[in-house]
């Protein structure tokens, strides 16, 4: 195991996060605070409680998930697309590092940043709404698992993309709609029965539901199902990455 390589790539990636602190951390915090003010405060006060939880508090897990999904994909994809774009990828490809080490370092750094942002948003949220976390360990498990899985998904997009346009295509066209329709802002039980069934094909539903359960013990789907679906998505991403490195897809000619 080339531990020095993992450390070096991880430190290098994290240094970029801290160098671009405003863009990396302050902007997601500000945008989330706006959500709380608008949905939690202004509109939320007119919305009745959901399963005994005030709308503002109900929003918190969904908003954190929304940020984590977006951030993980954007960090994961940028971290590998940028070296490909500017050509510095030659060094990683010519170095004595295994695909596993490359993924651990890049995805690890992207996931770390997501977890940091998730934690900061959680802290920010506690300023606006009364929070309780009934299952902190489960909460942490969902936070970490989702960050890793979606950073990995972003990493795959970063390898697949051949232009900046493609890089933002999947997040904009697929992930954002799935997140908004995945019960981040509402309980799917408010939907007509037919759409409740359709929504179960949306993987984000499981993430948000499981994460929300760890806060308030309310969920749209069973928490073990949520965990299984998250794990399944992780396995799918690992399998795709395995194929990418075996074939050299988009990395090696």
């Amino acid at each position: 195991m080339n531990i020095y390589a993992i450390r070096a790539i991880y430190a290098f990636e994290m240094a970029r996060t801290f160098r671009t602190l405003v863009q990396s951390i302050v902007s997601p915090v500000i945008s989330t605070s706006l959500y709380f003010i608008v949905f939690g405060g202004a509109i939320g006060s007119r919305i009745t409680e959901i399963d005994g939880i005030s709308y503002g508090a109900f929003l918190v897990p969904g908003l954190i998930m929304l940020s984590i999904l977006t951030e993980s994909i954007s960090n994961g994809s940028f971290s590998i697309y940028f070296p490909r774009f500017i050509g510095t990828i030659y060094e990683v490809l010519s170095a004595p590092v295994s695909p596993f080490e490359i993924v651990v370092a890049y995805v690890g750094a992207a996931a770390t940043k997501s977890i940091m942002i998730g934690s900061i948003i959680l802290a920010t949220a506690s300023l606006f709404v009364p929070l309780e976390i009934r299952h902190p360990l489960t909460m942490l498990l969902f936070l970490v698992l989702t960050s890793i899985t979606f950073s990995m998904f972003g990493f795959i997009i970063g390898i697949w993309a051949t232009s900046w346009e493609k890089l933002s295509m999947i997040p904009t066209l697929i992930i954002t709609p799935l997140t908004f329709l995945g019960g981040s802002f509402y309980s799917i039980s408010v939907l007509p029965e037919f759409w409740q069934k359709v929504t179960l094909f949306n993987p984000v539903v499981y993430l948000v539901s499981g994460f929300r359960w760890s806060f308030y013990e309310i969920s749209d789907v069973d928490v073990s199902t949520s965990l299984m679906m998250t794990g399944l998505f992780l396995v799918v991403c690992v399998a795709i990455l395995h194929w990418i490195f075996r074939t050299g897809y988009r990395l090696k000619k």
């Binding site: 390589a5 430190a11 290098f12 240094a15 500017i86 050509g87 030659y90 490809l93 010519s94 090696k252």
Partner: protein
């Protein structure tokens, strides 16, 4: 001596169908500087890229100090430093940060002092905290070399290191390369500047259209280079070279009007005076004379052309 790099039957066909390399066989000796000389598109960069693991080979194999570059890539790659042709740098990072990354990726323990030594040897030290995007093209080129040297490689690939570099930097680089060679590093240099190959290399491999056309010690090539010809345009055509001149290596052209004497400029005496005296005694008069010397460039162009004709 066991070669430090052994390339066996290496071939590369790109997905487009373009055959970039065709059955390349080449042994590179430890501690030498070998120049891969060839026109643009000859396959130099593809060859280097396969050895370094950036491009997959279609056939054949490469051994680095006994390690297969595919099966035993960790051991093989940790010995190699690569300075690619394109200036690809982390524009927003400092010189120190990018060099520390290079050292780490290649599995070496962080060593600030060593990195600073490398920077000093490349006259980069006073730029160590500057962002790479603020540096000039020449300085960026130094950073690329610094990155390759940051992990103490035993083998260094320099792909067109002085393309687009000014004279001063070129001289500096040659000095760095000489120092590296003195410390035992094997250096593989690709270039299409013959002057560079002539100045630096111990051996020269000429590559054209994906094939190695020639591998020769530079001295042997230079000996060919040292050959000079004296051409005498005769007043009266000769049927044959007179026996009295048999001691000289003379050649007569088909119509007997041009006598060519081949000699070595580096030998103690070229016997030109004696030859001219002998010609005078034999009653051979000439109306003009000229000398010509083949340059490495000429040898190279001939090789490349003849390989094209053969193909």
């Amino acid at each position: 001596m066991k070669p430090i790099i052994r390339i066996e039957g290496l071939s590369k066909v790109y997905a487009s169908g373009f055959k970039a390399l065709n059955d390349i066989n080449l042994d590179i000796r430890e501690g030498e500087i070998i120049a891969l000389l060839g026109p643009n598109g000859a396959g130099k960069t593809t060859l280097i890229s396969i050895v370094c693991g950036i491009v997959n080979a279609s056939g054949g194999r490469v051994m680095i100090d006994g390690h297969d570059t595919v099966k035993d890539y960790r051991a093989a790659r940790s010995l190699i430093g690569l300075v690619p042709q394109e200036l690809a740098t982390d524009a927003f990072e400092t010189v120190t940060a990018t060099m520390a990354l290079s050292r780490g990726i290649f599995g070496k323990k962080p060593d600030r002092a060593f990195i600073e030594d490398v920077m000093k040897s490349l006259s980069l030290y006073d730029k160590k905290d500057e962002k790479i995007m603020a540096l000039s093209g020449g300085m960026k080129r130094r950073v690329m070399i610094g990155k390759a040297l940051a992990h103490e490689p035993k083998i260094l690939f320099l792909d067109e290191p002085t393309a687009g570099v000014d004279v001063e930097l070129r001289k500096d680089m040659w000095n760095v390369v000489r120092k590296l060679k003195a410390s035992g590093v094997t250096i593989i240099l690709t270039t299409h500047y013959i002057e560079e190959a002539e100045e630096m290399a111990d051996r020269i491999a000429v590559i054209n259209k994906g094939e190695i056309v020639l591998v020769e010690d530079k001295d042997v090539l230079m000996k060919k280079l040292g050959e000079k010809q004296l051409m005498l345009h005769l007043m009266q055509p000769l049927g044959a070279v007179p026996p009295s001149l048999a001691a000289y290596s003379l050649a007569l052209n088909a119509d007997g009007t041009l006598l060519t004497y081949t000699y070595d400029t580096r030998s103690e005496s070229s016997d030109i005076t004696q030859l001219l005296d002998a010609l005078d005694s034999a009653g051979i008069e000439f109306r003009d004379l000229e000398t010509r010397q083949s340059s490495l460039e000429e040898i190279f162009v001939n090789l490349v052309n003849s390989s094209q004709v053969a193909a």
